[in-house]
């Protein structure tokens, strides 16, 4: 064994274009140049063993220091490159909004329920004190079914009121989010849209409680105190009825009142239709149009952008 030959092998590895880890393995590894040479010592004549052994150990220490001390990896990494966006899925802005509303009213003890989208005319109108052939129906032009009489696509999530009231024990604090349908389509209305119904039936719940809850909701939802306006309105299934507006600031600083939620004390006839004694129990109810809320919050200027499921739009909502 020639020490020179070993040194030549070592320098060949050190100059080879391989990684520092590979160099280490090839020289100092279990089957590396040094280890192989050290194993071969036992075959040498006894006289040479000590000399070669000492030289190899010196060389090994030198190389260990050399291969350890050399800055190996860091110099080759450029962390100044720009970040890449994370790959994520996303929830639809409408459903994010519904989740948020359910969460806020959940803090007030409301429980979310679902309901059918195809309902009887009675559940949608009759049970809610909309008389047949009454002009109040004009505000909610319904889709009817071709082959099945007396069934409609629900025009309001309120259609779930009487079925839920009839099927459950009181008191009730219920939210019903979902799709609703009306025969109207223009820049601000689509035939399919979303509502959230909420109602309480209890021995004691007042119009003032309703106002308080809606104020609480608006402040929580928009994340800041908002100027609101609680004003009279008319719904066949509430008496008295009210709408709440919020004062909305446009990007240019001008303001306008935006109607956010319709509400009122549940009409005694509705409670009766659910088999509830209106002398003992009373209720409040409210209904939000959902679609406009994410538009307001995030500055979406056309309802169609939302309903077209545009990939570029939806991608941005991964952040919600």
């Amino acid at each position: 064994m020639k020490l020179d030959a070993i040194k030549r092998d070592v320098s060949a590895v050190l100059t080879a274009k391989i990684s520092r880890d590979d160099q280490y393995n090839k020289i100092l590894g279990r089957k590396g140049v040094i280890a192989t040479a050290l194993r071969a010592i036992k075959d040498l004549p006894t006289a040479e063993r000590a000399k070669i052994g000492a030289a190899l150990n010196t060389l090994k220490i030198e190389l260990e220091a050399k291969l350890k001390d050399t800055p190996a990896k860091s110099a080759t990494f450029d962390v100044s490159l720009p970040g890449t966006p994370p790959v994520t899925g996303s929830l639809h802005p409408i459903n994010v909004t519904i989740d948020r509303i359910v969460e806020i009213f959940g803090q007030l003890g409301f429980v979310a329920q679902t309901g059918n989208e195809i309902v009887s005319d009675y559940d949608n109108f009759g049970s809610l004190h909309f008389p047949l052939n009454h002009p109040a129906r004009d505000t909610q032009d319904s889709f009817m079914l071709a082959d099945i009489p007396d069934m409609v696509l629900r025009t309001q999530t309120s259609a779930a009121q009487v079925p839920i009231m009839s099927a459950n024990d009181l008191p009730l604090r219920v939210l019903v989010p979902g799709k609703t349908f009306r025969r109207e389509a223009d820049a601000t209305h689509q035939p399919t849209f979303h509502q959230i119904e909420g109602f309480i039936v209890d021995e004691q719940v007042t119009f003032a409680d309703l106002k308080g809850m809606l104020n609480y909701f608006v402040e929580e939802f928009f994340g800041r105190p908002m100027k609101t306006r609680f004003r009279p309105h008319f719904f066949p299934f509430t008496e008295p009825s009210a709408e709440m507006d919020v004062l909305w600031e446009r990007p240019d600083g001008s303001t306008r009142w935006l109607e956010v939620v319709g509400s009122g004390c549940i009409h005694p006839a509705v409670l009766q239709n659910a088999g509830i004694n209106p002398k003992k129990y009373q209720g409040v109810a409210f209904g939000f149009g959902v679609d406009r809320l994410p538009m307001l919050q995030h500055g979406i200027d056309h309802m169609r952008a939302l309903s077209n499921n545009d990939e570029e739009l939806l991608r941005q909502f991964a952040l919600l």
């Binding site: 790959v87 994520t88 899925g89 929830l91 639809h92 409408i94 459903n95 003890g109 979310a112 329920q113 679902t114 989208e117 195809i118 052939n133 002009p135 004009d138 505000t139 889709f143 009817m144 079914l145 082959d147 099945i148 009489p149 069934m151 459950n168 008191p171 009730l172 604090r173 219920v174 025969r183 035939p191 399919t192 309480i200 209890d202 004691q204 007042t206 119009f207 003032a208 409680d209 106002k211 308080g212 306006r229 609680f230 004003r231 009279p232 309105h233 008319f234 008496e239 008295p240 009210a242 004390c265 005694p268 009373q282 409040v284 309903s307 499921n309 990939e311 570029e312 939806l314 991608r315």
Partner: protein, 782 residues
């Protein structure tokens, strides 16, 4: 309903500013949708007097008018034929605005055929005031030179466009709105002047009979010797501000009084009626198939459900809806029969809906008119007729079927009001508030009132209606907001909602994007995507002929959307959760579905990913049961062959596969890309028991994995091979596919075998087990 604040002042004194009044109306009565100011040109144009008219030296059709405005005179080139010396006309100076179809334009000073024009004489349409552009608007001689034309026509204050809710028919009139404003302003309502008739029991020369229960009152009054000129400018201006086109004095007066008092009125040409026989009017149901030509020149085919006014066997009006063409009043009319009546709200509404004929009369009748206003309205018309058209009332008024209505009485407990509203009213407060708007109120107990509802408030029926009156007049803004303090609701559980919510979040965490599509389907969707089962639910009255069905599947819209957006993105990963329905006979099956639609260039891997996500759905939603896959027995025809069916707890709930070329080609999907789709019904998962996942303790001994790659035989699938490997030795815990790629010889599949036991496995038992499996796998390879 529009409310001109100028006009309103005829009935009530208003001290608030227009802004303050509008705000007060919103808070007590009706929402203000828009505040309309007089058009700019109408405000800018001033009254001028034509002092001379000369021919234009260079044009036959043009003339040169000298217009005097105060001390100044201007020469104006004018093409209108209706101008004459001494007329008062609207004058727009150069630099001010005139109205065009495209909006308001600045009037440039112009030289027309060599003569400089200092401005223009304006037609009504030039002023943005109605559509009349026939000639220059001629103003009354009393108009003072230099004043704004807006002031001359009586449009100085804003007009409010109010949203009147369907319960408040009384607010479809100035009188009704004045009552509300009077309550707001703490003033009284002044009724408009009416003609005093000696006694309305002295019969008119026209006789009336009512032969249907759907008319609760019918009055007829005959006026002869009238001159039916154009109505005065102030009246025309007020009608125009309500989008009613002025016609002639008689028609304008009936429209005017309808706006004023809320009672629809109609005038027949009496001379025409005399041609049919004596002036004998009857209110009857129409005959089936009877035809009627109305004022709008349309012919209506009537049925027994319609009510008509009959004179000598001729139908002269569709009751409460529209008058007849032949008996209509024209400029040459000299005598009229004036109708003021009360028709059944539902009957009028049905007739109007059936014949698609909506008029201002319908809008009022269908909501119910004040039965005590019938005669007052007639006397008001007679007063205006007398002033404007002259004429003589022949006899008195025929009044058929009238029964004095008794006022509705409601007992109101103010204790209950407090319980419902959360607001306290003292009996004195309550009485004051109610009497301000015409309700009667007497205290009958410590906290009890007896309330009498005025004839115009047919919406007030129960105690709660009176609570609303109290709270709105007391002020919604005065309500101290509170939060409900009652017991919590524990009887209903949010299982379905939270389960769906968990699934949606799970999908999003797995890089899928959620869609919300329109819930309609087309006939083409049915042709391509409807598979056996119930029939699609057809909509009887769709908004477009295309989307004529409620959706029976979530996929059609998702696939269309993916194809449309494939032009701008290479890949898409989307899901939707929503309801679908089909029906068999009259039974509707509505279910909640989950669908996934992936645009990919590697359909095999993508399908694996989708299956992986689906397999985890029950656990992620904390529902019991598991998702498995198998060869689909009845294949969805829009999928490339050999799709998998998806099973939940062994029951088929959907399919997963690749969309056929026929569909993607039609959707112009470019490049080597595919749509992988899956749709499942969530109904059984939503109904399943709650299952909280069980933790598994970590492996105590080394886990051994071995990969075996084989090339599959042409007609065998990965599933066949895996199935054949069963039963496996006990130490084999799992065999999965770690890699799959197509080669010329067939698909190369790498199976990964995981071996484990609660001890250290020996090399030889691992080798034995692997060899056993390898042998089976090899049998299926080529």
């Amino acid at each position: 309903m529009r409310l001109s604040l100028d006009w309103l002042r005829d009935y009530v004194k208003v001290t608030s500013t227009p802004e303050a009044l509008a705000e007060a109306l919103v808070m007590t009565t009706a929402e203000v949708e828009e505040t309309i100011s007089a058009p700019l040109p109408l405000k800018e144009a001033v009254v001028g007097t034509i002092t001379a008219i000369k021919p234009h030296p260079n044009a036959d059709r043009l003339r040169l008018a000298t217009v005097r405005v105060g001390k100044q005179s201007h020469t104006v080139v004018c093409g209108a034929p209706n101008i004459a010396v001494d007329q008062r006309v609207p004058f727009i100076t150069a630099g001010k605005h005139y109205h065009t179809d495209k909006g308001e334009s600045v009037l440039e000073s112009a030289t027309i055929r060599g003569v400089a024009s200092a401005g223009m004489l304006a037609s009504a349409s030039d002023l943005g005031f109605g559509s009349d552009h026939e000639g220059i608007m001629i103003l009354p001689n009393t108009a003072r030179e230099g004043t704004s034309v807006a002031a001359v026509v009586g449009w100085e204050l804003p007009t409010l466009d109010l949203e009147i809710t369907p319960n408040r028919s009384d607010l479809l009139s100035y009188l009704g709105l004045a009552r509300e404003v009077a309550a707001i302003e703490k003033n009284r309502v002044t009724m408009p002047p009416i003609l005093s008739m000696p006694s309305h029991h002295s019969k008119s020369i026209a006789t009336v009979s009512v032969e249907t229960a759907l008319c609760s009152r019918y009055t007829a009054t005959v006026v002869t010797g009238i001159t039916n000129t154009a109505s005065p400018l102030w009246m025309q201006a007020r009608l125009l501000a309500h989008d009613i086109k002025p016609q002639n004095a008689v028609v304008d007066i009936t429209n005017y009084v309808m706006l004023e008092l809320g009672q629809p009125l109609h005038a027949f040409d009496a001379t025409t009626l005399r041609e049919y026989g004596e002036l004998c009017l009857s209110v009857r149901t129409a005959f089936n198939g009877e035809t009627f030509t109305a004022l709008d020149n349309k012919e209506y085919e009537l049925s027994r459900e319609d009510i008509v006014i009959d004179a000598g066997g001729q139908s002269i009006a569709l009751a409460g809806v529209i008058g007849g063409r032949d008996s209509a009043v024209s400029a040459t009319t000299t005598e009229i029969v004036l109708e003021s009546a009360v028709f059944d709200a539902v009957a009028v509404r049905k007739t109007a809906t059936r014949h698609s004929c909506r008029t201002d009369a319908v809008t009022r009748f269908e909501k119910g008119v004040d039965p005590e206003m019938t005669v007052v309205a007639v006397k008001r018309v007679l007063k205006l007729l007398h002033e404007i058209c002259g004429g003589t009332v022949q006899g008195g008024m025929s009044d058929a079927n009238y029964q004095h209505s008794t006022k509705q009485q409601i007992n109101v407990s103010l204790e209950r009001a407090k319980r419902v509203l959360g607001v306290t009213f003292s009996p004195t407060q309550a009485k004051t508030l109610l009497t301000k708007i015409g309700f009667g109120a007497t205290q009958t107990g410590k906290h009890e009132l007896s309330v009498l509802v005025p004839s115009w408030r047919n919406d007030s029926e129960i105690e709660e209606d009176i609570f609303e009156e109290l709270i709105r007049l007391g002020g919604y803004d005065q309500i101290e907001p509170t939060l409900p303090s009652g017991p919590l609701c524990t009887s209903v559980k949010p299982v379905v909602y939270t389960t769906l919510s968990k699934i949606r979040h799970w999908m999003a965490r797995n890089q899928l994007r959620e869609l919300e599509s329109q819930a309609f389907a087309t006939a083409e969707h049915i042709a391509t995507y409807h598979v056996n089962g119930g029939k699609p639910v057809q909509i009887a009255n769709p908004t477009t002929n295309k989307e004529a069905y409620y959706r029976f599947s979530l996929l059609p819209h998702m696939i269309e959307r993916a194809l449309a957006q494939s032009r701008t993105t290479a890949t898409l990963a989307s899901f939707e959760i929503g309801n679908i329905a089909t029906h068999s006979k009259e039974r509707i099956d509505e279910h909640t579905h989950l669908a996934i639609c992936m645009l990919t260039s590697d359909p095999v891997t993508t399908a694996q990913q989708v299956k992986g996500i689906l397999e985890t759905v029950p656990a992620a939603a904390q529902r019991s049961g598991g998702i498995t896959f198998g060869n689909a027995k009845s294949v969805w025809p829009f999928l490339v062959k050999h799709p998998d069916e998806i099973r939940y707890s062994g029951k088929v709930v959907g399919q997963i596969g690749v969309i056929t070329d026929a569909i993607t080609r039609q959707g112009k999907l470019r490049g080597d890309r595919y749509l992988v789709v899956a749709e499942v019904t969530l109904t059984p998962i939503l109904a399943a028991k709650t299952a909280i996942f069980r933790y598994q303790s970590p492996h105590k001994y080394p886990v051994v994995t071995r990969d075996i790659t084989v090339t599959l035989a042409p007609d065998s699938t990965a599933r066949d091979v895996l199935a054949a490997a069963n039963p496996v030795p006990e130490i084999v815990k799992n065999i999965t596919v770690a890699d799959y790629h197509q080669t010329a010889a067939g698909p190369n599949v790498t199976f990964r075998i995981t071996l484990y036991d609660d001890r250290t496995l020996t090399d030889s038992e691992v080798a034995d087990a692997v060899q056993h499996i390898t042998k089976i796998l090899k049998k299926h390879s080529s």
